[in-house]
């Protein structure tokens, strides 16, 4: 009996250690292997993603199945997905955040992106059109203590005029045109990022910058940069000629 107690305690501690650190270890691996290794280098973004508990934003079944930190998008219900960690990091990095920004997110989804942003900026405003998703995300954001995030259930097309202007806007829902009201609510020199492509498949990002003639715009009008997150095989040269 006296021998059994320490053995039992040993096994309990092993199990406790494994379960307690499991998500943290997975998060670290996610950042190192999936994100940093692919070229995302903003230390603040990497640190934020090491801290925010992604498993709290995915359906419980997927979290239990150790899928939360997998290198892929995951379904979160209502026909929506939580983006692949790399895409979250890339979108966040592309906004070049310094810390004092006010950011509007269109399409709260799971709330994970808003939670990451909350670690990097002054204020986050996030709108979700689907009431069920809004409620779930609101609860998850509260659970992780993202107190500088304001959520709203509504149509993101018209933005959040009362809180405008925003230094940055992030659209995480599919759009076939960039809504004019959002461009209006973007501060001069502000940056807007939106994904291009299918959430389950190839995605690259579109970065819109308002004014200041960025990207060589001749008249300071909004300019668009397509950030190719995918690594194109060159059209000319090796790729085109069949070389290795």
């Amino acid at each position: 009996m006296r021998r059994a107690v320490p053995i039992l305690l040993f096994f309990v501690s092993v199990i406790f250690t494994l379960t307690a650190d499991d998500f943290e270890v997975q998060r670290k691996m996610m950042v190192d292997i999936q994100i940093a290794a692919r070229g995302v280098s903003d230390k603040r973004v990497l640190d934020a993603m090491r801290i925010v508990e992604r498993h709290r934003f995915v359906p419980a079944g997927l979290a239990r199945a150790r899928e939360a930190y997998a290198d892929r998008p995951l379904p979160i219900g209502e026909g929506q997905t939580i983006s692949q960690p790399y895409i979250v990091a890339l979108m966040t990095e592309s906004l070049a955040l310094k810390g004092g920004e006010r950011v509007l997110e269109i399409g709260t989804g799971s709330g994970y992106q808003a939670a990451v942003l909350s670690r990097l900026v002054k204020e986050v405003f996030t709108i979700e059109i689907k009431p069920k998703l809004h409620e779930t995300a609101k609860a998850a954001l509260a659970e992780v203590g993202a107190s500088n995030v304001q959520t709203r259930s509504g149509d993101g097309y018209f933005g959040w005029p009362e809180a405008a202007p925003f230094d940055c806007i992030m659209i995480t829902a599919a759009v076939n045109h960039i809504p004019q009201p959002l461009l209006e609510q973007l501060a001069p020199g502000g940056r807007m990022v939106l994904p291009l492509g299918d959430p389950f498949s190839v995605q690259s990002l579109v970065l819109v910058e308002k004014g200041k003639g960025a990207f060589g715009s001749p008249r300071g009008a909004p300019t668009v940069k397509v950030i190719t997150s995918v690594l194109f095989v060159p059209l000319t040269g090796k790729g085109a000629s069949g070389g290795p």
Partner: protein
């Protein structure tokens, strides 16, 4: 009785097959539609394997066996469908949910059950009555053909679920009738003799039970149909446009309609805002829009232009470019909008003030709504196959605008036949332009570059065919950040047109990726890519047509014989594809070609297993018999494969001719099977020695058809719809009748019952594998390749038959 049962079972299974095909396309994903033929043939093949191992029922028992099979088939049809609706199959979750492959397998096996039971009935008929193989073949094929034809009416009118219920109802009629007419049950009232075999009675209680159960089942199914029961309703996949839209507050379906083109829903929602290619310089508002959604996914937006100036947004999209450079005064300008979803081309034409606008779309509801909404804007709207309109019309147009935005990911629609952008289609458009006219094509930008380079290459090829000495001089391409418009002008673009385009693109913030004399400095100014990928591909294609063959994706222009505009996989460069997708292979998992290849491997395995059971399984209770010769087995394998290759070749051709998969499927299956049934009936009277010449003749005819792969399409397209259907069926008549002979004639003379079951299994197994192989051959080699493959299969069958059948030493 046996003929009636075989007829009803075949009718039912074809109706079920086509209903399933529609249901899978709407409730799940278009790619899974390809599974249906495989499911049907798999069930059928397994029935042969089981029949070969069974102690076959005596002919004396057939009068209870066949009604029982009919009843079982009926219950299995409805039960399998209802069960399948409950299976949590969700294809896009395959990468994240380990249960999904299991759910797919469950659905596959579940849905194969009715086909298995029906196949068992037909197989037993062949096994027990070889002397009537022609009659059985006629009943089976004729029933299938009529089931397919009936489906073309039943599915649009009643919906997929109700059509499944009707399919379940059909076998109950012979089941109840046969049981009721048993001599012991009804005595003198039912003095009919059995069709074949010795007259015999059956256990009275069993017959009464079958009769009562059939009547009860018929009443229950009729009630389900009459109530429009929820168990029969189709719910679109949650990833599709309609369910996504319905989750938005304030959204409602205000009208529904069903037609051969599909199931349409009219949706009112403040969240419908369709304006692809809209300039960031546009500061106005979009007009209210109503959505017409075809099959839960394809959205056509109808704009409310009742307020003056509400069409202004369309002038600020790159889709307007064709009107901008037209030298024909707007009031005299004649425009043709060929629309597959969307709705921008017609508004752009209205905004330009065009004097005549003909809108052609594949959605009757969208055409009706557009005609009503744009009544005062010189718009005439028709629902037809755009290709049929363009080949059947004599009018010429100043602008032909093809609005077909396509998928946003390479491969997502790779199994979809879409003949609007083939080189043949572009050549037809070219012929219908006035001297100063232009073609405009609006598409999404697909990354990695794949779709756009193919369209550019196709336009170059169409211009070369028309004799243009410098095809690139006629083209311009305008894009924003996610979509583009191609322009192909009848006359080479002059300085003035180029200046106008450059000025306008500068104002709108659009990029020009191609115009005559373009340099790298002209590109990538407003919507900046890391490099000018699209310009580079256009420049390479314009200067070197062989560039397409070196690119890591297949971007070669396609003709009407291979109208798969969204297929890009080059199997030898698959590594480059994955690297191009950032090392993420999900795109591949969603690509139709990869799905088709996986299905092929799976069916190859299943087909081999199914065939191995009767060939190599001992079967303690099976009657002792020699093994059939390899020649015999190959004979039936090859005619099964040849038949399905022929079927898919015509299916692809007719999809181009009708622009509706349902109509194409109904016409192809209905026509082919009906005439094959007649061929089978004729086979009953043919001597065995005629088999070889018939097979050789079939082979020669199919090989000849391979050299003219699109002859059927070109002949059918100019005909009005009402004439196109009978013409298509007439086209199938002679070859289908010939193709119906080899199975019935050969199985008739097989001396051992178990061999007849093996013949049925071999034929079915080859059809299962052949169906998935045909999908790959059709995509990779085209309709011609399918004809050649069919010819080769029948030639092989002739050789195998000489060794295994015709020699008389099976």
């Amino acid at each position: 009785m046996i003929s009636a049962a075989v007829f009803a079972l075949s009718f039912s299974t074809l109706l079920f097959e086509l209903s399933l095909s529609r249901w899978l396309a709407i409730a799940h994903w278009g790619h899974l539609q390809t599974l249906v033929i495989g499911i049907a043939l798999f069930g059928s093949a397994v029935s042969g394997a089981v029949a070969a191992r069974l102690v076959l029922p005596r002919k004396a028992d057939e009068r209870t066996v066949f009604p029982a099979l009919c009843l079982a088939c009926s219950l299995a049809t409805l039960g399998a469908f209802i069960l399948a609706r409950g299976i949590p199959l969700d294809y896009p979750r395959f990468p994240v949910d380990r249960m999904q492959p299991l759910w797919l397998l469950s659905a596959y096996l579940d849905l194969a059950l009715p086909f298995f039971i029906a196949g068992l009935g037909t197989c037993l008929a062949y096994v027990n009555h070889p002397e009537h193989s022609g009659r059985i073949s006629c009943a089976a094929m004729g029933g299938s053909g009529m089931g397919a034809a009936f489906a073309a009416f039943a599915i649009p009118l009643a919906g997929e679920g109700a059509a499944v219920a009707l399919a379940a109802l059909v076998p109950l009629l012979p089941a109840a009738a046969a049981a009721f007419t048993l001599p012991r049950v009804c005595g003198a009232l039912a003095g009919t003799r059995p069709s074949y075999g010795p007259q015999s009675g059956s256990p009275r209680a069993l017959s009464i039970a079958i009769c009562a159960a059939s009547a009860l089942a018929a009443a229950a199914i009729t009630l389900l149909i009459a109530r429009g029961d929820a168990a029969l309703q189709t719910t679109p996949s949650p990833y599709k446009t309609l369910p996504q839209l319905m989750m938005m507050p304030g959204t409602a379906v205000t009208a529904r309609s069903e037609s051969v083109w599909g199931s349409e829903r009219v949706v009112e929602s403040p969240r419908i805002r369709f304006a692809p290619g809209l300039s960031l310089s546009f500061t106005g508002n979009l007009p209210p829009q109503t959505g017409v959604i075809l099959d839960g996914d394809e959205l056509t937006a109808i704009s409310d232009l009742s307020v003056a100036g509400s069409d202004e947004y369309a002038r600020n999209t790159h889709a307007y470019a064709g009107h901008l450079i037209s030298k024909i005064p707007a009031s005299a300008r004649s425009c043709l909008a060929l629309q597959r979803g969307g709705g921008l081309a017609v508004v752009a034409a209205i905004a330009s003030g065009a004097g005549r606008i003909l809108l052609v779309c594949d959605s009757p509801e969208a055409a009706r709504r557009a005609a009503a909404a744009y009544r005062g804007s010189n718009v005439t709207a028709v629902a037809e196959n755009p290709r049929a309109v363009i080949t059947g019309i004599n009018e010429r147009f100043d602008l032909i605008h093809v609005e077909n935005w396509g998928p946003s990911v390479p491969g997502m629609a790779s199994l979809t036949l879409d003949p609007l952008l083939t080189v043949d289609a572009l050549s037809d458009y070219w012929q219908r332009l006035t001297d100063g006219g232009a073609i405009a094509i609006s598409r999404k930008l697909v990354i990695p570059p794949s779709d756009s380079p193919r369209i550019f290459a196709s336009l170059l090829e169409a211009l070369r065919r028309s004799g243009a000495p410098n095809p690139g001089g006629h083209l311009a391409v305008i894009r924003n950040w996610d979509s583009c418009t191609f322009l192909a002008c009848r006359k080479p673009l002059d300085e003035r047109a180029i200046r106008t385009l450059r000025q306008w693109c500068g104002d709108m913030g659009f990029d020009l990726d191609w115009f005559p004399g373009i340099t790298a400095a002209d590109t990538n100014r407003f919507n900046r890519l890391e490099e000018s990928w699209f310009f580079q591909s256009y420049a390479a294609l314009a200067s070197d047509p062989a560039f397409a063959s070196r690119y890591y994706l297949d971007i070669a222009p396609q003709g009407d014989d291979r109208p798969f505009p969204s297929r890009f996989v080059r199997w030898t460069r698959i590594g480059d594809f994955i690297r191009a997708a950032g090392g993420r292979p999900y795109g591949l998992l969603l690509s139709g070609e990869v799905v088709a290849a996986a299905v092929f491997l799976e069916t190859l395995l299943l087909g081999a297993l199914v065939l191995a059971v009767p060939l190599f399984g001992g079967g303690r209770r099976a009657p002792p018999a020699r093994r059939p010769s390899t020649g015999m087995v190959f004979y039936f394998l090859l005619i099964g494969a040849g038949y399905i290759f022929f079927e898919i070749a015509f299916l692809n051709a007719f999809t181009v001719a009708f622009a509706s998969p349902l109509i194409a499927l109904a016409v192809t299956l209905g026509g082919m099977l009906f005439f094959s049934g007649l061929g089978g009936l004729a086979a009953e009277r043919l001597p065995r020695v005629s088999l070889s010449p018939i097979l050789l003749l079939i082979s020669v005819l199919l090989a000849a058809a391979g050299f003219l792969p699109t002859a059927a399409v070109r002949a059918l397209l100019p005909l009005p719809f009402a004439a196109r259907v009978p013409a298509a069926i007439a086209m199938l008549a002679a070859p289908s009748a010939a193709l119906g002979i080899p199975f019935a004639l050969a199985v008739r003379d097989l001396p051992v019952p178990r061999w007849r079951a093996i013949a049925w299994t071999a034929n079915g197994s080859a059809s299962v594998v052949g169906a998935s192989a045909a999908a790959l051959i059709g995509m990779g080699g085209g309709i011609g390749a399918l004809f050649f493959a069919a010819a080769a299969a029948y030639l092989g069958a002739a050789l195998a038959g000489r060794a295994g059948l015709i020699s008389g030493k099976p």
